[in-house]
């Protein structure tokens, strides 16, 4: 299963020049395409070496664990969304989260404002800083590749 997911991820990691991400599984709507394009522009401004977003990098980022400086506990995106994005997750207060991958939950990555809002909250929760445009783009590339 893991190998299959990684395979699909690698296949979807192909991103066209300045255009929006095109993946195997999920096609983003117009506002999300626009959002991802602006992320790519910003990512290239920060690092001219950036060519595309990478589902593989996104997967690594999704599962990366980090110790919170004040709470001294391990945190990660997968901590709440679980390491399988196709299944339901759960917050530390016990609230059930619908799957974070659009393959299992059509509402995901359809509303750019919502996505940006939760990047802001959750990146602070896990990394104690905002996510970079590259991290956000890779994250979306991974989850839309499943």
């Amino acid at each position: 299963m893991k190998r299959r997911l990684a395979g699909i991820g690698a296949a979807a990691a192909v991103v066209l020049g300045g255009a929006a991400i095109s993946q195997a599984a999920t096609v983003l709507n117009a506002q999300m395409q626009e959002y991802v394009n602006s992320l790519l522009t910003e990512a290239r401004r920060n690092d001219p070496g950036v060519k595309t977003f990478s589902a593989g990098e996104g997967k690594r980022f999704f599962n990366m664990k980090r110790v919170h400086s004040a709470k001294k506990e391990e945190r990660s995106c997968s901590g709440c969304h679980t390491s399988n994005p196709l299944t339901r997750g759960k917050t530390p207060v016990g609230k059930i989260l619908e799957p974070i991958s659009p393959a299992a939950n059509k509402e995901r990555f359809t509303d750019a404002m919502k996505v940006e809002k939760w990047f802001k909250r959750n990146c602070h929760n896990v990394l104690e800083r905002e996510c970079t445009a590259k991290e956000k783009g890779d994250f979306i590339a991974y989850l839309t590749s499943l």
Partner: protein, 202 residues
Amino acid sequence: MKIDKKSLIMAAILSVAALSLSVPWVSHAEEERHEAVKRRSGDHEEEGERHDIIRAQQNKDKNRAPFPESALYKQECSSCHFLYHPGLLPLRSWEAVIQNSDKHFGENLSLEDKIKDDLLSYFYEHSAEKTDSKWARRILSWSAPSVPARITEQPFIIREHRKIQKSVFKRPSINSFSNCGACHPKGAEGDFDEDSVEIPAK
């Protein structure tokens, strides 16, 4: 002052008589009162029972408070945890929650001013002060005059859960004392009554 022997003896006799009379006299009066009460409750025993049942039913109804629906409150405040009934905190606490929403238990909720105002109006209408239920009244009277930052730090809530061991709250399907819905399946409807409580085994 001079007191003669005769009047002294008279006084003694009188006071002894009064004493000996007074004791049974008092206790008799009391007995009579008890009898009267017993008679009354005896006469109306059946009616009293019926009243008790009705009263219990009324109390139960009064112990539930329907959830005042709000799409905005649900949207802003239920992503991370159970949607707390607004009657679970006094107004001054909700005001503090909104005021400190940029440092909300380690989360920055980044609420826009318009949303803060609308949430405050909602709490103004539906906080514990405005909630007609026994639990809300107890939350209020037990917490005065502090400003509890949490529902779970209020004396009434702590007392109601004092028999539950810490390890129970850590069960995977519960996670936290703050996850009211795990044990109160009707909690979202403002019903925390004893008979509707179900503690998950795992």
